[in-house]
């Protein structure tokens, strides 16, 4: 276990972007929000955010904050999707390119452990970084808003801090992140396989093989089964979750912000986890990862 934790630390030593990018992004986000609040240009609807917040009950304010958290989380998720995609494409290629694979393979670490450590970074560590980044950002935002609210004459402690649904927010972030890791295992597995296989550009291999297959299918049979299947699989994850989320917004009402919808996602998570299609995804994902391990055993050189 200790060995596995060091394998993961090793990944973070090498791929600093995994945590540096979210930190920088959080900094930019907070800085721009602070500037917006100080200059009075951060609006919800037609009114300044601090001005709006003070008309809410603590419960509503808590909900408003959860919606903001959701927004922040969405932004961090998009950023992390880029970071983790490039991470996976490099994970089993970079050390072959600089030949350091010959050093790593001189250590008593199995190829299975190596591949699994990279998989764990993509499916567990990255979500943990995202959740931590969202929480730290929201905490900082809360402090900034507290100051703003205090200037508007309301008491930030009773308004913002008393009924904060922290556990609910954290709970739904963890459950949705983990569900996403499971659901997208075929994609993770595919990217790792491309990384372990590619002799030149893992990205091209990862992108062109499926595109080529889709194109060939269209030419040969005039069907688009593969494209539709992949498309449908992705949509099947987002539909229940975003069904919830799209209902959710802050809308300016006559007396301030009105809450529509509910942030929970637990029902949606349950729907996703019990969807039999998930089983198909997991089988495909595990198959790709097993192939990746075999490739890692065999392929060292890139020329």
């Amino acid at each position: 276990m200790n060995e596995f934790l060091y394998l993961i630390r090793r990944e973070l030593w090498e791929h600093r972007a995994l945590y540096v990018v979210p930190i920088v992004f959080a900094g930019v986000l907070l800085l721009s929000v602070t500037v917006g609040i100080v200059r009075g240009t951060t609006y919800v609807g037609s009114d300044h955010i601090a001005h709006q917040l003070q008309f809410l009950s603590p419960g509503e304010a808590g909900q408003a904050l959860s919606v903001m958290t959701l927004g922040a989380w969405l932004l961090f998720s998009i950023v992390s999707a880029f970071v983790v995609t490039f991470y996976m494409l490099d994970a089993l290629y970079g050390d072959r390119k600089d030949r350091s694979v010959l050093f790593w393979k001189s250590l008593p670490i199995g190829d299975t452990e190596t591949v699994l450590s990279k998989l764990a970074v993509a499916t567990l560590v990255m979500p943990a970084i995202v959740i931590a980044a969202v929480l730290v950002t929201m905490l900082a935002l809360l402090v900034i808003l507290s100051v703003a609210v205090a200037f508007s004459g309301a008491n930030p402690f009773t308004l913002l801090w008393s009924e904060l649904p922290v556990f609910r927010i954290v709970g739904s972030m963890i459950s949705i992140e983990l569900t996403r890791s499971l659901w997208f295992l075929p994609f993770t597995g595919w990217l790792l396989l491309a990384s372990a296989t590619a002799k030149r550009t893992p990205f091209l291999l990862a992108a062109l093989v499926p595109l080529g297959l889709i194109f060939a299918e269209k030419l040969a049979f005039n069907t688009q089964w593969l494209g539709d299947t992949v498309d449908g699989y992705v949509e099947r994850f987002f539909r229940p979750l975003f069904g919830d989320i799209s209902e959710l917004r802050l809308s300016p009402g006559e007396d301030g912000i009105e809450m529509v919808g509910d942030l929970g996602g637990f029902g949606a998570v349950f729907d996703v986890l019990t969807d039999p299609v998930l089983l198909v995804g997991l089988v495909v994902g595990v198959a790709f990862i097993m192939l990746t391990i075999q490739m890692r055993k065999r392929r060292i050189d890139i020329d």
């Binding site: 060091y6 030593w13 600089d98 030949r99 350091s100 010959l102 050093f103 250590l107 008593p108 670490i109």
Partner: protein
């Protein structure tokens, strides 16, 4: 003596070419074996097979393991430096030591630090800040801190300047090697290692053409410098190789009667490099 590695019928194909062609060998414990051959002879393939880095046909056992299937287990007791400068550029010296002490059961961080103290490599350095020679020293320090029974070195000093090369082998011999350990080394610059070898294996186009201890070489091979008048007689004995040296002819014989040869001149023990050149040269070329 016990065998560290045994190969029987070891073959490795790449398409239709055989990088290794039905090779048999045994490496005994406590030896320093030089694997020597021209480019493309199959040296690297042989080493990779021994280290579990490539698939192969035939049977191969290293320290009781099937290398390709049990590489991780084998690497607890064996270690290798394949080429210099394969340490990743982003790796910090301190982190490398920390990582290895948590992932390698027979690695001693104290030993590694002690070896590094004798070099100009500092714990805060990243590999990308080190010169090529320093990277080689760093890698050697990491490897020598592993209590391994079998060390494989594939061109460990390629591209280093003379000073580093000398130091590399000195350190290896003085601070690391003992009768419990076995070293297998390949290098083009084998003039530098031939003094430390106990055994040599010559590989040519995937086959072993010579596998002997250095003592045996001294008995099997002999060199005689022959004056022009006796060249015809000396050639008639059947030399492996001949070349011109300052108006005389130097003959290299394999397994010929020493008393018979002594009449042509003074007998010398040829160097490993001379034997290498003789064995690797095509007899047809020489006649021409």
């Amino acid at each position: 003596m016990s065998a560290i590695a045994t190969a029987r019928g070891l073959t490795r194909r790449f398409g239709t070419t055989k990088a290794l062609d039905n090779v048999d060998f045994t490496i005994e414990r406590g030896r320093i074996v030089g694997l020597i051959g021209p480019n493309g002879a199959g040296k690297t393939t042989a080493l990779r097979a021994l280290l579990g880095l490539t698939a192969y046909e035939g049977s191969l056992e290293v320290l009781g393991c099937d290398p390709h299937r049990q590489r991780a287990q084998l690497m607890k007791r064996a270690c290798f430096i394949a080429d210099i400068a394969v340490l990743p550029r982003w790796l910090k010296v301190r982190n490398a030591i920390e990582f290895m002490s948590h992932t390698h059961p027979s690695f001693s961080p104290a030993k590694a630090r002690a070896f590094l103290d004798k070099t100009s490599v500092r714990l805060d350095h990243k590999v990308k800040q080190l010169s090529k020679g320093m990277v080689a020293q760093f890698h050697l320090a990491l490897v020598m801190a592993i209590d391994a029974e079998f060390l494989v070195l594939d061109e460990p000093t390629l591209g280093l300047d003379l000073l580093y090369r000398k130091k590399f082998y000195e350190t290896l011999l003085n601070d690391y090697f003992d009768e419990e350990r076995t070293i297998l080394v390949t290098t083009h610059q084998f003039e530098e290692v031939e003094r430390i070898l106990t055994d040599v294996m010559f590989l040519q186009t995937g086959r072993i053409v010579l596998d002997a201890s250095v003592e045996d070489l001294g008995e099997r091979y002999v060199e005689v410098l022959v004056a022009p008048a006796q060249v015809e007689a000396a050639r008639a004995v059947g030399a492996l190789y001949e070349r011109q040296v300052l108006g005389k002819t130097l003959f290299l014989y394999e397994g010929r009667d020493r008393e018979q040869l002594a009449q042509f001149g003074e007998l010398h023990t040829p160097s490993v490099s001379d034997i290498f050149v003789a064995k690797m040269s095509d007899p047809q070329d020489m006649a021409a």
